[in-house]
Amino acid sequence: EDDAGSGSSGPVTLRLGYFPNITHAPAVVGVEKGIFAEKLGDSAKLETKTFNAGPAAIEAIFSGALDATYIGPNPTVNAHSKSKGEAVRVVSGAASGGVALVVKPGITSVEQLKGKKIATPQLGNTQDVALRYWLKEKGLTATKEGGGDVKVIPQENAQTIETFNSGAVDGAWVPEPFVSRLVNAGGKVLVDERDLWPNKQFVITNLIVSTKFLKAHPDVVRKLVEGQVAANEFVNTRADESHQAISDHIGKLTGKPLDVKLIKQAWPTLLFTNDPIASSLKTGLDHAVAVELTQPVSLDGLYDLTYLNGVLKAQGKPEVAQP
């Protein structure tokens, strides 16, 4: 009855999306090293799709063109709220951390940010909210329109490098690998976002599946989660191999391998955990409401961690909390 196919009528295809990006390291390494394919075995054929931004991935999930994807917290919440909780489920975490406020070297304190221009990836996204909430806590104002004590300028990350270089912005609250790139361009980390969170953990990438696929092929989803856990294991234990795999993979895709040095530089700020850190998502939403960027949204039913916990339990690892 759905285009994902039913178990009985032939082999299932799992269409998995991800971004060729450091924060998607488990996905990239898992695909490059064949971990997912191995775990899925005969139960499903893996078909991978790469995206360079969240909207296309969500549109693909919505329209049934994609079954599962690694994605950031922001699109996850959007997909959940816009489909009234119908379309997607988070089945596992993937990565945490890797976000920082990088500024011009002359700026060493919060006070000095007054009158400065700080870039974020997108109005209302996780980093944008984090910056605004942090500023608010420090007693600085920042309006949606770019006014106030600190001028917050949402722009694409790629553009942030350009504007930081040309001096058009004085800093940026961005994820890796842009943190490292800005640092290499002469920037200085003023705030490491990990320091603002309990246990220094907050979600940067998680794995979602479409509800339809989950219902039709729970077994395949379980295998997928197994793959995710295995990929995280690989990434966490064999760092050097992972760096090379990410570099090669991006090279295949873009025509130019990513500099391994850059990956190495960014690596320590990231934590690859299977825990989707649901609490950080919830807190992030509260912050967004606090800075008046969104209306309260219910996250009920977004998480379905039974598969993850099943896998973890089977491997004798600590389970994660289902919110």
């Binding site: 549109e59 919505f62 816009k82 329109e145 300028i153 949402p154 001096g167």
Partner: protein, 292 residues
């Protein structure tokens, strides 16, 4: 013989008056008819499009959050129309579009005339114009930011680089096809150099130039939609930003509502171009006779 058939038509006076009357009648009938003839097909097309859309939605091929129905989108559009953001964004974008386009027209016309006129220039950069036209807007962003930082000028830069080559190409193709006989006539009447352009080549190339201007508008508008992401929300919202946000937020009704706004603007602009084109065709006598 002639007077047999139309009795009472012997007098030229009467037939003159008669002719006026016939003409007058034609006009009155045609005025109402013209409006109706221009309107009903649009309404029909709209009705068909909306009905097809609704049918697909009812068929539930895709979930409603993926493809909302006309009702949902219509309500969203009304909601938007009631709030100031849409109008502010539209105003900002239209202002930028107008400014950028006017500037592009200036640059494009000058460039086109220069290339069409000077052989050396044509050999040197003629092909470059099309090549520039094919460069996607985002490729210019770094340069725009380098040159103009995060100002509106950076947006204009991208818009002009998008639209001017298209307009220039229109001018060049127009000038290239000016009938040699008219050029010779102009030269013989004493029009040389700039005067030849002013009195002969420019008016003769006008139809192609208008076609180029129309294409240029499309380029400038699309470049603007992309370029508006260079400076988002610095102080104002814009249609380009709204389009992107709607997508980022996976908000299908908002996206479709914004697309409808873009289409309406496009329709308005096309109507303006259509009127200009019709005026030219009437003057040239292409309309009268083709319209039979």
């Amino acid at each position: 013989m002639a007077s047999d058939t139309l009795a009472g038509r012997a007098d030229a006076e009467i037939s003159g008056l008669d002719a006026l009357e016939i003409a007058g009648q034609q006009k009155t009938t045609s005025r109402a008819a013209t409006i109706w003839a221009a309107t009903w097909p649009k309404l029909a097309a709209l009705a068909i499009a909306v009905a097809a859309w609704q049918a697909v939605v009812w068929a539930e091929v895709w979930p409603p959050y993926s493809l909302p129905g006309p009702g949902t989108v219509g309500r969203e559009l009304l909601r938007q129309a009631g709030a100031p953001q849409l109008w502010d964004g539209l105003a900002t974008t239209l202002r930028r579009a107008a400014l950028g386009y006017v500037f592009s027209v200036g640059v494009g016309l000058l460039l086109g005339l220069a290339v069409a006129r000077f052989r050396v220039l044509r050999a040197a950069i003629g092909s470059m114009i099309t090549a520039l036209q094919t460069m996607p807007s985002i490729a210019w962003f770094p340069l725009a930011i380098l040159l103009f930082e995060l100002s509106e000028k950076a947006i204009f830069f991208v818009v002009v680089l998008g639209a001017a080559p298209s307009i220039a190409n229109g001018v060049i193709s127009g000038v290239d096809y000016v009938p040699p006989l008219l050029q010779r006539a102009g030269r013989n009447l004493g029009a040389r150099g700039m005067n030849l352009y002013r009195y002969v080549i420019a008016p003769a190339a006008l139809p192609a130039i208008v076609a180029g201007l129309k294409q240029g508008w499309a380029f400038s508008w699309r470049s603007l939609m992309a370029g508006e992401l260079i400076v988002v929300g610095i102080s104002q919202t814009s249609l380009g930003a709204q389009l992107t946000y709607a997508r980022e937020l996976a908000d299908a009704p908002w996206l479709l509502a914004t697309m409808i706004v873009v289409l309406i603007v496009g329709l308005g602009v096309d109507t303006a171009f259509g009127a200009a084109d019709k005026a030219i065709r009437r003057r040239w006598g292409v309309l009268d006779q083709a319209g039979q």
